[in-house]
């Protein structure tokens, strides 16, 4: 089936079987391998992407369901000038990743949180990020990173 959606601001058209997951269409058909598959049953959160502004498990959605949607993946996080998004930078600075496999999903979930809450407490961050599993960091660096990104975003010049 022909499916059309926009990914990271670019219109894409893929020809997929109805059973093809959105995660597989992004990874296999569009080569956007930044979206990772950790469990393929909706628990680990590694495949979290934004679909029409909502954090979504790409492993639990069929590609055909995304027809007409606007999708953002980790590949779309950087600024146009190539500068890292505040979250990407804080994950690097605060050791919010080790193996990096859960990181794309963590970044997307954190972005959703920071869209909704400008100054989440550490407790809130822990609660909101609890749908994403990281096996490496013990979460300390991740909570640090989200907290720092919130600060960066809050102090950023809005005209920048």
């Amino acid at each position: 089936m022909q499916v059309n959606f926009s990914v990271n601001g670019r219109m894409e058209s893929v020809d997929v079987e109805p059973r093809c997951t959105l995660a597989d269409a992004l990874r296999e058909d569009l080569g956007l391998t930044g979206t990772h598959l950790g469990c393929e049953h909706g628990v680990c959160g590694a495949c979290t992407i934004m679909v029409d502004g909502q954090p979504t498990r790409a492993c639990l959605m069929f590609a055909v369901q995304a027809d007409g949607c606007s999708i953002t993946t980790v590949e779309g996080l950087q600024n146009d000038d190539g500068k890292l998004h505040a979250l990407q930078q804080s994950f690097c600075d605060r050791h919010g990743l080790q193996c990096g496999f859960c990181t794309p999903g963590m970044l997307m979930t954190a972005m959703d949180l920071l869209h909704r809450e400008v100054e989440p407490s550490r407790e809130r961050i822990r609660e909101e990020m609890s749908g994403n599993i990281c096996r490496c960091t013990g979460y300390v660096g991740i909570v640090d990173a989200v907290e720092e990104a919130a600060r960066t975003l809050n102090s950023a010049d809005p005209t920048d």
Partner: protein, 778 residues
């Protein structure tokens, strides 16, 4: 220190990790991301029975399906010709023959029985449904301390694959004269490394020659190359193993699995066609290596003052269906017997430890190997002894820890401890957790009838960076004490490191660059590190036993130092100065008393490679050094953890209020990475203590086969962690101690101890779940 001339210095600092940019932008290069022309996909059919005779496998319908490229079963000659036999010279050891695909019998639920190659994974899985396997179920054994009705392997009628005894001093005499003797049965829960990236491989057998390339998420590429060459009858140089970015390992990926070998054999049958297998989580939970399914029958004696008089243990480790390749069924039982007494002075020790095969997934290496269980056993016995003697949990530890003046201390298992900083680690925890404040609050709550709190401690020694004298592995036919590293200056003056270390998140590209930058005398940014490719590094055993900072780091350092000497000799001849006075700092040549640098490494490198006409007499072109390093002995890392917990006596819920850890990593190469290793390993330990449990029913079905049943801790469960450091330099060129595993050793003991301290409740069977706690409270 034979270290660096560099004044700025990279070692000891937190630097931007070389790995991070590609990983945070979605441009990592994991095996599952690999796409090659004409690639085909593999799916495995797995046994739904824990134990069953395989009467027949009818793959004709799958074979005939037009969308299927090939089907393989245990009877396919190329598959049947190979089996995995983990070897060990241990006297009582019984080998197991692990088929690549099960042939006569399936020995655990999830064992691969057939494989299909198709254009994509969806079609490959479609074809699995067309394969008809005729199983004749057999009674399954899932508990290692129960007698089997039908043995798992004919060669081991009682299912025992190996047994070893440790004996030191006079245990019977010591018990007879003890003031208190405590006995308990303690059982730990089966769980697993469960990295976020499951296993994955891409195998390509060259069309026109016998050359195999395997991209694999393995922790041990050189070992895999060596084993594949032997199993497949290839010269070693015709096998290339590449481990690109790997999404976590934790020991699970230090195994050569039958699926890996199947992939390579199938690639040989389909020459020129790259075959890709990406495991899903359900497969991973069923069929990747498990760990920690142990029983300890403990008996510990104490003097009236609280000194340990003797330790006796009967240890049974459930090693699952096969003796894991190449580490053997001995990996957990021998580690358990060897390190059970931990950081405590014990003169009289008797231990019988055995590995028992059952109809469950085989046990393999998992971060901390056996010691999360042995520390739980030992620390629980200390708490019980203290309670009987009217001592505090803290006092009994202070009395029995190996003191600094006893170093080197020969443990009753004859391992030699070089640390002795256990008291310091424990006192660091006592301070960080505010023990006195805790006591006041505990008393206050008791007086006011508020929810109880408790404190738990764990002290442990982590044996890291094992050299040839005490190498990891139970008398296997190889010794893992050394690694190689090549360091070279390129023609542009940049430095390239080709190291035998591998990384599954530990940031080895970064730490090797830091070590080499200082050893050579260049900036961190000038160093490029290439790891995980057997065609680049000469040799490395890979990631296990907390060995890479010590051994791989040692090799990187010694190669770098030797390269600096080579560089300085050439530069001194070029600049006509004395080599002994010349220094290389941040890539510039400096002479004492001369303000301006004489030149840069790039200048000299250009001469070494591009302008042989300018090479001084007696110098060969090129600047490159390869060195092996073996620390011969290991480096013990001292560690202690403590936590304060609160119990909801109505629901049985346990809340962690505070968690502290003090650990000795020796000289720290990168503080942020070391802290990350400790925090991550504590979180895994907490997961194992409270949530993660692989449960089999009586017929050998895994009843926790998804992440909905197998609970991994999230940011909501793991508390804030306070990590403190000691830095006793170890006896190796960098002074480092391994730090990758220690954090996992504490949580079982800390949480069980805190529970005992809070309520006097004993949980002798892990994990500590609200249901078990609630029951214990009734």
């Amino acid at each position: 220190m034979t270290g660096s001339d560099s004044t700025s210095g990279s070692v000891g600092r937190t630097v931007a990790r070389k790995e991070d940019w590609r990983l945070v932008t979605g441009r990592g290069n994991y095996v599952s991301d690999l796409e090659l022309p004409r690639m085909r996909h593999v799916a495995f059919l797995r046994s739904p029975y824990g134990h069953a005779r395989i009467q027949n496998v009818d793959a004709s319908a799958a074979d005939a399906a037009p969308w299927v490229d090939a089907v393989f079963t245990g009877l396919t000659p190329a598959i049947a010709a190979v089996e995995l036999r983990a070897l060990s010279a241990l006297p009582s050891y019984i080998e197991t023959a692990q088929p690549i695909l099960a042939r006569d019998k399936a020995r655990f639920a999830g064992e691969p029985v057939a494989a299909v190659v198709a254009a994509d994974r969806y079609r490959a899985e479609d074809a699995l449904e067309l394969i008809d396997v005729d199983y004749d179920p057999l009674p399954a054994t899932v508990t290692a301390w129960e007698k089997p009705e039908v043995p798992v392997h004919d060669g081991a009628p009682d299912n025992v694959l190996l047994e070893r005894a440790f004996e030191a001093g006079d245990v019977d005499e010591a018990f007879a004269t003890s003031a208190v003797v405590v006995e308990r049965e303690l059982i730990t829960n089966r769980h697993a490394g469960n990295p976020m990236e499951c296993r994955a491989g891409v195998a390509l057998w060259a069309k026109g020659e016998n050359k195999l390339t395997l991209w694999s998420g393995t922790q041990v590429p050189h070992l895999v190359r060596n084993m594949l060459a032997e199993l497949l009858g290839l010269p070693e140089s015709n096998v290339r193993v590449i481990a690109p970015d790997v999404g976590g390992g934790f020991g699970t990926k230090a195994v050569l699995y039958p699926e890996d070998v199947a992939l390579c054999i199938m690639a040989r049958e389909l020459r020129g066609v790259p075959l890709k297998w990406v495991e899903d989580r359900a497969e991973h939970l069923q069929a990747a290596a498990h760990a920690r399914d142990h029983r300890y029958l403990m008996k510990v004696g104490f003097s009236a003052q609280g000194k340990i008089t003797a330790v006796q243990a009967d240890v049974t480790c459930n090693i699952g269906a096969y003796s894991v390749y190449p580490w053997t069924a001995g990996i957990e039982p021998l580690m358990a017997g060897g390190l059970l007494t931990g950081p405590y002075m014990v003169d009289n020790y008797r231990c019988v430890t055995r590995g028992v095969t059952t109809n469950t997934a085989y046990a393999g290496p998992y971060r901390g190997v056996a010691r999360p269980a042995t520390v739980f056993a030992m620390e629980t016995m200390l708490n019980l002894g203290a309670a009987e003697l009217g001592l505090s949990d803290l006092d009994i530890r202070r009395l029995n820890l190996i003191p600094e003046d006893a170093i080197p201390y020969r443990m009753p298992s004859r391992l030699v401890d070089d640390s002795g900083w256990y008291g310091r680690a424990l006192e660091g925890c006592v301070e960080a957790i505010d023990y006195d404040g805790f006591l006041v609050e505990q008393k206050r709550r008791a007086e006011h009838g508020e929810e109880p709190i408790g404190i738990g401690f764990a002290c442990y020694n982590e044996l890291t960076g094992l050299g040839r004298a005490a190498a990891a592995g139970p008398r296997m036919p190889f010794r893992t004490g050394h690694d190689a590293c090549t360091v070279k200056v390129e023609a542009d003056g940049s430095v390239t490191v080709m190291s035998g270390v591998t990384s599954q998140g530990q940031g080895l590209e970064t730490t090797m660059a830091q070590v080499v930058a200082d050893a050579v005398g260049v900036t961190y940014d000038a160093v490029n590190v290439r790891i995980g490719d057997t065609n680049e590094a000469l040799w490395g055993f890979g990631a296990f036993s907390s060995r890479q900072a010590v051994i791989g780091g040692g090799a990187a350092h010694t190669s770098g130092v030797a390269l600096r000497e080579q560089i300085l000799e050439l530069a001194a001849a070029v600049y006509e100065v004395s080599a002994s006075e010349l220094r290389l700092v941040d890539g510039r040549f400096l002479m004492p008393g001369v303000e301006q640098p004489l030149g840069t490494l790039a200048d000299v490198a250009r001469i070494a490679y591009m302008e042989s006409n300018r090479l001084p007499e007696g110098f060969e072109p090129g600047l490159q050094v390869t060195r092996f390093y073996d620390p011969v002995r290991g480096a013990f890392s001292a560690g202690a953890q403590a936590a304060v917990i609160e119990i909801d006596t109505v629901s049985g819920e346990l809340t962690i209020l505070k968690w502290v850890c003090v650990e000795d990593a020796g000289r720290v190469i990168n503080p942020q990475i070391v802290d990350g290793q400790i925090a991550g390993s504590i979180a895994q330990g907490i997961g194992g203590a409270m949530y993660e449990h692989l449960v089999y029913d009586e017929s050998g079905n895994l009843s926790t086969g998804t992440l909905l049943d197998y609970l991994m801790p999230t940011s909501a469960e793991i508390p804030e962690l306070s990590i403190g450091h000691l830095s006793k330099p170890a006896d190796n060129p960098l002074g480092v101690r391994g730090v990758g595993e220690g954090g996992t050793l504490g949580p079982n003991a800390v949480l069980a101890g805190a529970l005992h301290n809070a309520l006097g409740v004993e949980l002798t069977r892990l994990p500590i779940t609200p249901a078990r706690l609630w029951e214990a409270l009734r």
